[in-house]
């Protein structure tokens, strides 16, 4: 019984950690820059396909993570120049443009790889004994990596000069520019970092999920719900949102079924938008 509870708790923690990882890129782009990147899920999808490419080429799988990061960085930079920057004064149109970008990426991958599912054969099927029950080692490793990455990012954002500049740009772009900050470069950098986060998350998730061109939609929505519930603009909000959304999803899905889990999450998000539009943790 204890082992069952332990496994259940670990599953819950795992789900929340995944959500936090997936939402991180969107938290940067939407939470910091205020750009709703509708192609967020497609960047994740590209990251997962980077693993497929690496596997087909017979290279070691860790190079896939690298490829995902580099590809998404380049693509993110191009997208920022062509789509985001010209529309900076028309925020509603960035929603549309990135929505179009999402379709473009989906259809391009569909044309290149076909609509069928892909999978990654990693050899990491080992388990570790946790709380008296075996648990997949890859999941445990991933959870640890997510914890370390989030911690490092939070520390960097608070302490580094670059973090301070981004914070300055976010709270008052005009003043930041007047003080000599190159806000264009900062915005570009933040957007690229967001895209890389999404791509790397996709690569890390690849061995665990079904890989297909339309896989991004679910992840975009999950990330969005995390931000709606948690609140924009802080790591605390991201974690709180991931915990509440992940917890609801897992609890309802295990009590009823997966569809009921999705319904519960959607209702929760609508409830938050209605009654508590700033989320659990309001922007400081």
């Amino acid at each position: 019984m204890d082992a069952l509870v332990g496994t259940y708790a670990l599953n819950l923690l795992y789900q929340c950690a995944l959500l936090a990882l997936v939402a991180l890129g969107l938290a940067i782009v939407f939470g910091q820059l205020g750009i709703m990147n509708m192609a967020h899920g497609e960047f994740l999808m590209l990251g997962a396909y980077a693993m497929v490419v690496v596997q087909r080429a017979g290279l070691p799988l860790w190079t896939g993570v690298l490829l995902a990061g580099v590809a998404c960085a380049l693509l993110g930079a191009v997208v920022e120049r062509i789509l985001i920057r010209p529309l900076v004064s028309r925020p509603f149109d960035t929603l549309l443009a990135t929505w179009g970008l999402g379709i473009l990426l989906r259809k391009s991958v569909e044309a290149g790889f076909g609509r069928g599912y892909q999978s990654i054969d990693h050899g990491w099927t080992g388990t570790l004994q946790v709380a008296g029950a075996p648990y997949p080692a890859y999941r445990l490793g991933l959870m640890a990596a997510i914890a370390i990455a989030l911690g490092a990012l939070a520390w960097w954002y608070r302490r580094s000069p670059a973090g301070a500049r981004v914070q300055a740009m976010v709270s008052n772009p005009g003043l930041a520019e007047a003080m000599g900050l190159n806000t264009r470069r900062l915005a570009l950098g933040a957007f690229v970092v967001g895209c890389v986060c999404a791509g790397v998350a996709g690569a890390l998730l690849a061995p665990l999920v079904r890989i297909e061109p339309a896989m991004g939609m679910d992840w975009l929505l999950a990330s969005f719900f995390v931000l709606v519930v948690g609140g924009l603009g802080s790591l605390g909000g991201l974690l709180a949102g991931a915990a509440l959304i992940g917890g609801t999803q897992v609890a309802v899905a295990s009590a009823l079924d997966a569809t009921a889990g999705s319904v519960a999450v959607l209702l929760l998000a609508i409830l938050f938008l209605w009654r508590r539009p700033h989320g659990l943790v309001a922007r400081p």
Binding site: F30, L83, L87, D93, W99, I103, T259, L273
Partner: protein, 583 residues
């Protein structure tokens, strides 16, 4: 003037009707059958054009309403083969999606005055959820195999006569779309897309306006779905799918997001091409996605905007001389007293209003002065529900305003002129004046009557005589006005609803000496004529001296002193604040 007058209204409609009639006559029945499907998609797209092109919010899960209509209609038609009573449920195929859409929009828009990404993503999620439920709830929907063997509508063979029903519905929907656009509600929808915030300060509940539009778009989706079921004879989960939702948005964008004709053009043109080319040419959809991005970046009007110059030439018509007296507004009441009791406002840890006590009990202009940061504009924001109160109470006419929304407060006779003129740049000056005349006068059905367009009030006649540019520039977009003219227009817009409490935030900022005199004269005559109470924020003491009988000095979020300007100028505490002697 009836809404259908003018060749720009009836000519495109007649051309559409002629084209749709010509298809089965010149072509064959099978061509008409195929076209019928894309006309149905066009109906759904017209719903998107209404919400996105007119009201400024983009639904990304519109296929949900289409699919819902299709499933209900399919189930009813199948049921009616055994039991005719089933027909009673057929209207649900249209009403169900309409009510769902309306309720959803009410909930989602209740607390916001913007139309950003939140709404779009929630509708996207709902669409995906609909698909999931349709696929898994097999006992009702037939799961992945769907509802098959749906019979024809009685007497309407799907390969021949059903087309005529579809054409009839499409023509009616197009006419209704154009009619709504030309009625007062259409002007309000466009104003919502431009400056929702300002519209709320006229007293319009914009969340209800948007919910109405979304409800109508849901009805259009449901109607199209209800005809889709007998047209195809089979309803499967992809009718709700996000793939279709995405395509609907592309069709609206490429065809023209703010035109019912553009919606039809996009659905029939791109939709039909895609159906054939997607199989043969693997990169077709990549090209469509690129086309969509190009339209968003460079060509927001879509294909129909190519015809815009022609349209404008057709639209030239003489201004209507007709005038209909507008309903009168209630006059002065005995209990018109504004009271602030210990009002505290805190934002981001900074105390802006720190226990403000203020009582305004006499009619006429009250000056509200104080150094920068004293909390003058914040006083207005707190009064009009744009800043939450941390403590204290604000009462107007004896009623506590706590918990009321900005539009509800405006409906209680509080009018506000903003410091920075907030107008609707793309709307004409005449449309601005109309909106202000409708404010708090037009109720329910008034917004659906052409008569309401011609409402006049004595105050409006007087103001137009005073400020000739309001008539001269009446057909021009307000975005083209000069800064001074915008300030005057903004003041006029605030005066026309004849508020009982007038909040004026620096009405003369940025005006020339001549314009300032004109503006002050307008305020003085309007306040006297309406016998109203006005609060005037102004840094220019000569303006305060000219208008205000009573002046209140704010300092650090509190009331420092009240009295006549002469009394205050002699007050040591006031002198200290203005001379910087005391902090």
């Amino acid at each position: 003037m009836a809404w259908w007058r003018g060749p720009d209204v009836w000519l495109p409609w007649c051309l559409l009707a002629a084209a749709l009639v010509a298809v089965p006559v010149l072509g064959d029945d099978y061509l008409a059958y195929q076209l019928g499907l894309y006309l149905l998609y066009g109906l759904v797209t017209q719903g998107i054009a209404l919400t996105w092109g007119r009201c400024g919010f983009l639904p990304l899960g519109q296929a949900l309403f289409f699919g819902l209509g299709a499933y209900v209609s399919g189930a009813v038609l199948k049921g009616s083969e055994h039991q005719a009573l089933w027909w009673a449920a057929w209207p649900l195929a249209v009403l169900g999606p309409a009510v769902l859409a309306w309720a959803l929009a009410r909930v989602l828009f209740a607390r916001r005055f913007e139309s950003g990404p939140f709404f779009s993503l929630i509708t996207l999620a709902l669409g995906m959820l609909g698909f999931q439920i349709a696929s898994q709830w097999s006992s009702v929907t037939g799961g992945f195999n769907g509802l098959g063997g749906i019979p024809d509508l009685p007497g309407l063979d799907r390969y021949a006569r059903l087309y005529w029903l579809i054409v009839g519905v499409v023509l009616l929907a197009t006419a209704a779309w154009v009619a709504l656009d030309r009625l007062p509600i259409g002007t309000l929808w466009r104003a919502t897309a431009e400056q929702e915030n300002r519209l709320q300060f006229f007293g319009f509940a914009t969340d209800r306006l948007k919910a109405l539009a979304f409800g109508l778009s849901g009805a259009l989706g449901g109607l199209a779905g209800a005809l889709y079921a007998p047209h195809q004879g089979l309803v499967t989960p992809p009718v709700m799918g996000f793939q279709l939702s995405a395509e609907l948005v592309i069709w609206a964008a490429v065809g023209g997001r703010s035109s019912p004709y553009g919606a039809l053009l996009g659905a029939v043109g791109i939709g039909w091409l895609s159906a054939t080319l997607r199989q043969e040419f693997v990169y077709w959809e990549v090209i469509v996605a690129l086309l969509f991005i190009a339209v968003v970046l460079r060509f927001p009007g879509g294909a129909v905007s190519l015809a815009a110059p022609l349209w404008r030439r057709l639209a030239r018509r003489s201004a209507s001389p007709r005038a209909v007296p507008a309903p009168t507004r209630p006059g002065p009441r005995d209990d018109e007293v504004l009271v602030f009791e210990g009002v505290r406002v805190v934002q981001h840890g900074v105390t802006i209003l720190d226990g403000l006590d203020l009582r305004v009990a006499t009619r006429g202009v009250h000056g509200l002065i104080g150094p920068n940061g004293a909390g003058k504009t914040s006083t207005f924001n707190a009064l009009t529900a744009r800043l939450p109160l941390a403590a204290g109470r604000i009462r107007w006419c004896g009623e506590d305003l706590a918990g009321l929304t900005a539009d509800a407060i405006a409906r209680r006779g509080v009018g506000r002129k903003f410091q920075i003129p907030s107008i609707f740049p793309a709307l004409t000056v005449a449309e601005h004046l109309r909106i202000a005349t409708w404010a708090q006068r037009a109720h329910g059905m008034d917004l659906l009557r052409m008569r309401t367009q011609h409402w006049r009030t004595p105050l409006r006649d007087a103001v137009e005589a005073e400020l000739p540019f309001l008539v001269e520039a009446s057909g021009r977009p307000a975005g083209e006005l000069s800064q001074g003219q915008r300030q005057m227009l903004e003041l006029v817009l605030t005066l026309l609803p004849e508020p009982r409490l007038l909040l004026l935030d620096e009405p003369c900022a940025g005006l020339s000496t001549h314009e300032t005199a004109q503006q002050l004269a307008l305020i003085a005559t309007a306040v006297a004529r309406l016998q109203t109470t006005a609060l005037l924020i102004e840094h220019d003491f000569s303006a305060v001296e000219r208008l205000a009988t009573q002046v209140h000095v704010l300092h650090q979020g509190r009331l420092l002193a009240s009295g006549t300007l002469a009394q205050l100028q002699a007050d040591a505490a006031v002198q200290a604040v203005y001379a910087g002697g005391r902090k």
